[in-house]
Structure formats: structure tokens, C-alpha cells
């Protein structure tokens, strides 16, 4: 079997997701036994006009990005959006669903005015070209990346989980953040991260975007039930953004 060729590209983002690829460490060697990495600024200098799998990190912000992405799409058999920025602009989409407005300012705080964020309408990769698979998360989970890649190499179509973070949180036997008097976005956020944050005693801030059919009405009622307000949620998000 010929090794599939993998190319990695980055757009507007922190490159934290690419760092997660480097973080595969020992697994990286196994990875390189089953795929050829033909284009990757971060880790190699080879360039190739053709590849089977394109991993795209970052959000699309400038007209030249759109053209570059379209070229990548044309060359790639499978295009994978890597991380929250590429998938949907991170926290933004969920926050739009919650109708809280001013998401970017809150999330990015002062840096919202910086050029790399403010230079145009921010688009997710799938708003520009068709995407075959998504790896959610901010940053992505290296284990999830690794299993998605194996699944792609085997010829499968990796499935983006469509269950909320609560599922993995309960499987992990955690005490719910709400019981601790806190807020948590777990019930409307797409799982797959292993409930990373609640398992470490933090709340889920929704980095993986929302499940397909979040019950926003119910989520609001939950806030009310625990004596929380939507403003409080905004403030908590701002707190996170300023760190």
C-alpha cells in the first residue's frame, strides 16, 4: 500500500494545534511510518504539489487566504479542519447560538483590535470550501488527531462526536460543576475531549463548539435554576479570555 501523503497548512490561529502534532512525540514516529508528510512549515521543509490529506489550521480572514485555501482544496483528496478556529471560530459559534453578542471582544479582550483578528470577516474553513472532517478543540487533542488520522489512512470517515461533554464527564465520575455552584457549558458543547476541563475541576467553556441540536432554551433554564445569569456567563468567558 502506498503511503498517503499528508500536508499541513496554517491560517489565522495560534499554531497551538500544530504544536499538538509535535506533541504526539513517540507516536509521531509511528505516524511517519504510515503517512508521508509532504508539506509542513512547522516540522519539515518538503513541498509537494499533490497530497491525499490536508490538515488545515486556523480561521480564514483575508482575501488571499481564501484563494490559498481554494487551491489547497483543489489539491487535497481529504481536507480536515484542525481545531476550533478552522472548524468554526472557536467559542464564537456557540456564543452566537446563546445569543450573547460581542463574543470576540469578550473572548479576546484587548487583543480583539489587533490586525490578525480584525482584518476582515472571520470565516471558518468550511464557510469557504467543503470540509471532510473536523477535529474539534482549542487546542485539539493529540490523541483524537492520532485516531482520526489512523481512521483516514484505513479509509474510514472520522465521525465528529455529537454528544455533549456531560457524557464523558459522567463516565469519568465527576461531580458536576453546577453542584459546586459554578457554571458549565458542558451540556451544549460537543464532547470528544474526555471532559478534560471538568475532570480537572474547571468548567467547560465550550471550546469544541456546540452539539448539532443544543437545547438552548433548556440551557438558559439551567442557568436560572442555579441562580446564574447570562451576564455572569459572559463575565466568566471574559475572565478566561483575559488569561
Amino acid at each position: 500500500m502506498k503511503k498517503p501523503r499528508v500536508a499541513i497548512f496554517d491560517f489565522a490561529g495560534c499554531e497551538g494545534c500544530q504544536l499538538q502534532i509535535v506533541n504526539l512525540e513517540e507516536e509521531l514516529l509511528s505516524l511517519l511510518e504510515v503517512v508521508d508528510v509532504v508539506e509542513w512549515r512547522e516540522g519539515s521543509s518538503e513541498k509537494s504539489p499533490e497530497f491525499d490529506i490536508a490538515l488545515v489550521e486556523g480561521a480564514i480572514t483575508r482575501p488571499q487566504d481564501v484563494r490559498r485555501l481554494e487551491q489547497i482544496r483543489a489539491r487535497a483528496k481529504v481536507l480536515v479542519a484542525l481545531g476550533a478556529c478552522a472548524s468554526h471560530g472557536g467559542v464564537n459559534k456557540l456564543r452566537q447560538r446563546l445569543d450573547l453578542g460581542a463574543a470576540k471582544r469578550i473572548v479576546y479582550g484587548a487583543s480583539a483590535r489587533e490586525a490578525f483578528l480584525g482584518s476582515g470577516p472571520v470565516q471558518s474553513v468550511d464557510e469557504v470550501v467543503s470540509v471532510d472532517a473536523r477535529i474539534e478543540g482549542c487546542p485539539i487533542d493529540s490523541q483524537e488527531l492520532s485516531s482520526v488520522l489512523r481512521s483516514l489512512v484505513l479509509g474510514g470517515e472520522p465521525k465528529t462526536p455529537n454528544f455533549p461533554v456531560c457524557v464523558e464527564c459522567k463516565r469519568a465520575g465527576n461531580v458536576c460543576r453546577y453542584e459546586r455552584g459554578e457554571i458549565c457549558l458542558g451540556p451544549v458543547t460537543r464532547g470528544g475531549c474526555g471532559a478534560r476541563c471538568p475532570s480537572y475541576g474547571m468548567w467547560c467553556y465550550g471550546c469544541r463548539g456546540s452539539v448539532d441540536e443544543p437545547n438552548i432554551h433548556a440551557a438558559r433554564a439551567v442557568l436560572e435554576r442555579y441562580g446564574k445569569t447570562v451576564q455572569e456567563l459572559e463575565e466568566r468567558l471574559a475572565l478566561f479570555g483575559s488569561r
Binding site: 509511528s30 504510515v34 484505513l154 474510514g156 454528544f163 457524557v167 459522567k170 461531580v175 437545547n215
Partner: protein, 685 residues
């Protein structure tokens, strides 16, 4: 049975002795809450816990476990089991009741070796509740106190404990207290009874306004209540209520593969019927919306499981109430509200009252065929009641732990989750989307299927898919399947070639009862890929042509290019007494048949109701129209056979995915009579 009396301090030293001998999983504090976890030092044991976050069930059905290990594509092997015996220490009575229920579930039908093995390795040390949790209502469910299902029972009376052994395993643990222990005196036993009385009364933080035995009747009356819509609007579909429940056992199955892309494992993970994708199938058809999922959980607990196993699948632990941040998971809340709306549930039901038809439909599907029996089952919802020591409170009959008797070795030998191997003998594209495969099991073993049954086709590292056997049963050592490419397994299958190997489990499910239909005219109504499963029946009828009357096949498809088995159909048509009528939804290109839905063909089928049996298979939308027309043509619901399709994972009645109301399609289906399913609201929606 022996009951001894020990000091509190002796419990600690006994635990130390236990720890030195074997693995002990015991209640401990974590994060100001309680959990069952491996005990490392006796001091960590807590017997004053209110409730554990996760039920002890997790030590028999872990949240994640290996089901099959594999070395793709040609070796499937059972996993290396953890064969260490262990003591499960500190189990509250309601959880003991739940364990007994799960024993019944995992021993029924095709026994689950993974659960049963762990269960057989465990010694259950129960302890009566000392501190009631905030939401416990075991008192209301008759599970505040249990009379069996444990090996040892600890009951605190003042500063001492009474230790009762129930089983030989329990006697072994009791012996570890040494020789100089006192037997409990009659006065001690009376004090223990006082504890039990207190718990029966006390473990009722929520008052259920009816006895649990009335729940099946209540639910049979409440299916279309507004409550399901009202409450589900607040349901997050987060699954928390299922994932903490000691009587929820649904699971998902997933493959993981290593970097060699050959070896890996098939995992099972605890699942939840509240989740959006639980009953969604490839192609996106959603069999249960949020409201239906919300309702399903309560029906599963209060009607379906009682009908099937004889117990209400809620033991009143209150964990779901603790964990539902939306505040809509409480069974007591829901049942009490329904009782206000349907007080007649508490009355003696009148004979043949229509509202019980759901219960009756289930009962008759589960083999209580006579209407009388079904009616009496619905009235007397199969709960056997046995008093403990004082006949003051109804209790659930606890299913006997079926595991003691089963030898561990025996359980491992036959693991129904491990697929057999089959070789692809031939592969032929039928259309742009569907491919026919001829498969042959290892060593030319015969599959031994009947027409209408299905197999689980396994591609290790990718997954499993239920696929009907499309060839007739007399077909020698090989058999045929026809697969439409819609997702991972079906796409991956397409990349294989003759000579390659796939995994096969089965055959599973019910068949068209062709032997009973001898002498009848057979009418086949197939829509789209529905022709695939009924083709086995068509072949069987053709092979035994003389045994049957006319064979009429009404076949509808979207467009001419979707036509399956074209050449074969031409050949069928040449057989004596065989008529094939075809129609397309949309006319594209050359076409000799009709245009319109498959029902357009029915008037031309010359149906003679008393001598006809109809076999119907097609997409979900098709059934309603075809069935209505067949009934209008004068056919009896009992003479119409339908083959239904649902999401499947296990194929053996365990994972819960394939349920239509309380019916397992993988076990009681996929072939049903219309009479069996017409009162099941989820069947033909």
C-alpha cells in the same frame, strides 16, 4: 445463613485481612462525595456514605471495556479477561436490587460473558443505609431493604455491626472474623429489624403517590400525555440521568486501531438513550426526537422492563435526580404528575380497556399470546411481591443471580461478540450504490440462516453493520449479501476484493415463517433496498415452487437505475405462477413498468385475502401506505409480515439501540407480523 455480631473496630481489621487476600472495591470518599474504587487501605472504607456518584454496576459493566481484540483482517480473538476475584464492599440495598436486575438482563437470551464473568468473580458485601441521601426514594420502590442478592450484609446497630452471610462465598468472608465471634442474639436481630423498618419509612425523600406495581398501568395510559413535550423542552439530552443509573445498561460499540493499522480492539462504552444519535441511523433518519427520547427512558423503567423481566427498572437511588441539572429527570415527579392526570391508573382496570393496548402489544410480542394472558399481564404487571420479615411492605422479587452456577471457563469459551471469519468469494456491483457479495464462512461452515434473518458484518478497526442475508437458506455453504454504501463499514466493504476476509456474527433475528405459509399465495411488496432481505424468501419460495400458490412481487424503486437483481427478475417472471410488477417514483430513461409509489401496483396484484400472505419490506415511510392499502384490500394484520430496520450495535438484545418501544428488533424482529407491531407507536411512524 449465619448472623454474627462484631465491634466496629473488627470491621476495620477484617477489611485489612480481606485486602491482604484479594482485590477489594469499596466505598470511599472523593471530592466530598462517595465512589466505589479499589481500596488501598482499610481506613479509607466508608460505610456511612449516602450514595455513590457512580453505581456499583460500573464494576460489572465498566464505562469502557474491551470486547474483542483483533489483528486485522484475519484474527478476531476474545480479550484477555481480568480474572482476579474481588469483593465489592459497601453496596446499599437499592444497588443490590439493581445488581439483581442487571443479572437477569445479562443472563437472558444470549448471555453476556463479560458481565457474567465479572459478576461471578465478585463477592457482594451489602450494607444497610446509615445516611440517607438527599434524593433517595428506595422506600417507595420497595428496595430500602433487600433479602437476597448479596453474599454478606452489614447492618450497624449502635456501635456494633451485625454481619450476615447468605451464600457459601459469604461464609468464607465471615470466617475471616476468626473463631471467637458471637452469634447475634434474638434481641440483636430485633434491633436490626428496627433499622430496616426505619429505612423503609425513612428512605423516602420523595413520595411516590402509587405503589410501584401500578407504574406499568399508569404508563400504558400516559403515552400521549402532554407532559412528555412539556418536560422535554427542558431536557438537554445530556445523558447524565442514564449514565449514573444502576439499572441503565445500554452501550455503544466502537473500534480503535493501533498505528500498525492491523491490531486493535473493539470497545464498548456506556451509552444513553437520551442522546441525539442513539437511534439515528446512517443517512440521518431519526427514529426518536427529543420528546420521544425523554419519554423512552421512563417507559423503559416503568413499562418495558416490567413487561419483559417482571421488575420496575428503578430502584429509587435518586442518582438521576442528583445529576439532572435541568431538574427534569425525577421519576417520582413524572409519575406523580401523570397520576394526577390519570387517576384511573389506580383503579381496577376493566376487561379489555383500550388504553392498555401498548402493554398488551408488548406482552403478546413477548410470547404471552392469548389476549387473556396479555390482559392479565397488563392488569397484574408481572411483579411478584414477597415480604421480607414482616409482611408490611411490598417488595420486588429479585431475580436470582444466575451467575453462581455458570463456570467462568464456560463463559469465556463462547463469546457472542467475537465474529467468525468469512471469505469474499465474489463481488458484483448491482447499481452505482449497491454491491453484491458472496461470502463463505471459515472451513465452509454453513451459515444456517432462515429467510429474513441478518448477520453482523465486521470490518475490524472500522466497525460492524447489520446486513440481511439476501440469498435463500438452501444455498450451500456460501451466502449472499447486498450492501448499499452509506457510511464507514459499508464504504470500507466496497474496497475489499474476492479473497479478502470479513467478520461475521449471526445469523440473528426472526425469519419469514415460510414453512407455515405453505399452500398460500405469497405477495411480496418491496420498496428500494427492501428487495434485498425479501429476496431470500423469494428464492426459497421458488425452490419449493409446488408448496406455494401464486407468487406476486410488487417492487417499487426511485428510478430505473436503482433497480436491483434485474436479470434475476426476468428469470423469476418466467416461472409458472409468478408475476412481477414494477414501478418507479421518477421516470428517467427507459422504463417498461409503472410510474408512481409502490402502492400503485397493489390493485393489479389480484390479492385474495383469505389465501394470501404478504411480505413487506422498504423504507420507513413506505409501510404506512402499503399496510393501509393491504388492510383496505381485506387482508388480516396477522397475514402481513413486515421487516423493520433500526440502529443496531450488539445484535443480541443487550445494547438497547434497536428498540421499538420495548421490543428488540434484533431479537423479536426484524420480521414481525403487522398484528404484532400495529399497537407499538414507534414501529411504523
Amino acid at each position: 445463613m449465619r448472623v454474627i455480631k462484631v465491634e466496629e473496630t473488627q470491621i476495620a481489621s477484617w477489611t485489612r485481612t480481606l485486602l491482604a487476600q484479594q482485590r477489594v472495591v469499596a466505598v470511599q470518599e472523593r471530592d466530598e462525595r462517595f465512589v466505589f474504587d479499589d481500596l488501598h487501605q482499610a481506613e479509607d472504607l466508608r460505610l456511612d456514605h449516602d450514595v455513590t456518584l457512580q453505581p456499583p454496576l460500573r464494576h460489572f459493566l465498566p464505562e469502557r471495556e474491551e470486547l474483542v481484540s483483533f489483528d486485522r483482517p484475519d484474527r478476531y480473538a476474545p480479550v484477555e479477561p481480568d480474572d482476579r476475584p474481588f469483593v465489592l464492599l459497601g453496596v446499599h440495598p437499592y444497588d443490590v436490587a439493581a445488581i439483581c436486575q442487571m443479572d437477569a438482563v445479562f443472563a437472558a437470551g444470549v448471555p453476556d460473558p463479560h458481565y457474567n464473568r465479572r459478576r461471578a468473580l465478585a463477592t457482594v458485601v451489602a450494607c444497610d443505609v446509615e445516611t440517607p441521601s438527599g434524593n433517595v426514594f428506595a422506600g417507595a420502590m420497595g428496595t430500602a431493604v433487600v433479602e437476597d442478592g448479596y453474599d454478606v450484609l452489614l447492618t450497624r446497630i449502635g456501635r456494633q455491626y451485625l454481619v450476615e452471610s447468605r451464600t457459601a462465598k459469604g461464609d468464607g468472608l465471615l470466617a475471616l472474623f476468626g473463631d471467637d465471634v458471637e452469634d447475634a442474639l434474638p434481641s440483636d436481630l430485633r434491633r436490626r429489624e428496627a433499622v430496616w423498618r426505619r429505612n423503609r419509612q425513612g428512605l423516602r425523600q420523595h413520595a411516590l403517590a402509587c405503589p410501584p406495581q401500578a407504574l406499568p398501568r399508569l404508563l400504558a395510559l400516559s403515552y400521549n400525555d402532554e407532559l412528555w413535550q412539556e418536560r422535554s423542552e427542558y431536557c438537554l439530552s445530556c445523558g447524565a440521568c442514564n449514565l449514573v443509573c444502576p439499572t441503565c445498561y445500554c452501550f455503544d460499540v466502537q473500534d480503535v486501531v493501533g498505528w500498525d493499522l492491523k491490531s486493535g480492539r473493539r470497545l464498548r462504552l456506556c451509552d444513553s438513550c437520551m442522546l441525539e444519535d442513539f437511534a439515528k441511523v446512517a443517512g440521518g433518519h431519526q427514529f426518536r426526537l427529543r420528546r420521544d427520547r425523554y419519554r423512552h427512558r421512563f417507559y423503559r423503567k416503568g413499562l418495558y422492563t416490567p413487561e419483559r423481566f417482571g421488575f420496575v427498572a428503578c430502584v429509587g437511588c435518586g442518582r438521576c435526580i442528583d445529576s439532572c441539572i435541568a431538574g427534569v429527570a425525577s421519576p417520582v415527579d413524572v409519575y406523580n404528575t401523570l397520576l394526577e392526570r390519570h387517576p384511573e391508573a389506580l383503579e381496577e382496570p376493566r376487561e379489555g380497556a383500550g388504553a392498555r393496548s401498548l402493554g398488551q402489544a408488548l406482552a403478546s410480542l413477548l410470547g404471552r399470546e392469548s389476549a387473556e394472558e396479555a390482559a392479565s399481564a397488563a392488569r397484574e404487571p408481572v411483579l411478584t411481591l414477597r415480604p421480607r420479615c414482616e409482611a408490611e411492605e411490598p417488595r420486588l422479587a429479585l431475580a436470582k443471580a444466575a451467575t453462581d452456577a455458570l463456570e467462568v471457563e464456560q463463559l469465556v469459551a463462547k463469546d457472542p461478540y467475537v465474529p467468525g471469519q468469512a471469505k469474499i468469494l465474489a463481488k458484483r456491483a448491482l447499481t452505482n450504490h449497491e454491491t453484491l457479495y458472496r461470502l463463505c464462512l471459515d472451513a465452509e461452515r454453513k451459515l444456517g440462516h432462515k429467510s429474513g434473518q441478518f448477520v453482523q458484518i465486521s470490518l475490524m478497526g472500522i466497525g460492524e453493520a447489520p446486513i440481511s442475508v439476501s440469498s435463500g437458506p438452501d444455498d450451500g455453504p456460501s451466502f449472499e449479501i447486498v450492501v448499499r454504501r452509506v457510511g464507514n463499514v459499508t464504504e470500507a466493504l466496497e474496497r475489499l476484493h474476492p479473497g479478502d476476509t470479513v467478520g461475521v456474527r449471526g445469523p440473528y433475528g426472526t425469519a419469514f415463517p415460510l414453512a407455515d405459509l405453505r399452500g398460500k399465495d405469497i405477495l411480496v411488496v418491496a420498496g428500494g433496498i427492501g428487495i434485498v432481505p425479501v429476496r431470500s424468501a423469494i428464492q426459497e419460495v421458488l425452490w419449493h415452487r409446488g408448496d406455494y400458490g401464486r407468487l406476486t412481487i410488487a417492487y417499487g424503486m426511485r428510478a430505473p437505475q436503482d433497480r436491483l437483481f434485474g436479470e434475476e427478475i426476468e428469470a423469476w417472471q418466467k416461472e409458472p405462477g409468478v408475476t412481477v410488477l414494477e414501478t418507479v417514483d421518477h421516470l428517467e430513461g427507459l422504463w417498461h413498468g409503472q410510474v408512481g409509489p409502490v402502492t400503485t401496483l397493489l390493485p393489479s396484484c389480484g390479492i385474495d385475502p383469505p389465501t394470501t400472505a404478504a411480505l413487506v419490506c422498504g423504507p420507513p415511510v413506505m409501510y404506512r401506505y402499503v399496510l393501509a392499502d393491504l388492510i383496505a384490500a381485506g387482508m388480516e394484520a396477522g397475514d402481513i409480515y413486515v421487516s423493520l430496520e433500526r440502529k443496531m450495535k450488539c445484535g443480541i438484545g443487550k445494547c438497547g439501540h434497536c428498540q421499538i418501544n420495548g421490543v428488540y428488533v434484533c431479537q423479536e424482529g426484524p420480521v414481525f407480523t403487522y398484528a404484532q407491531v400495529k399497537n407499538l407507536p414507534e414501529a411504523l411512524q
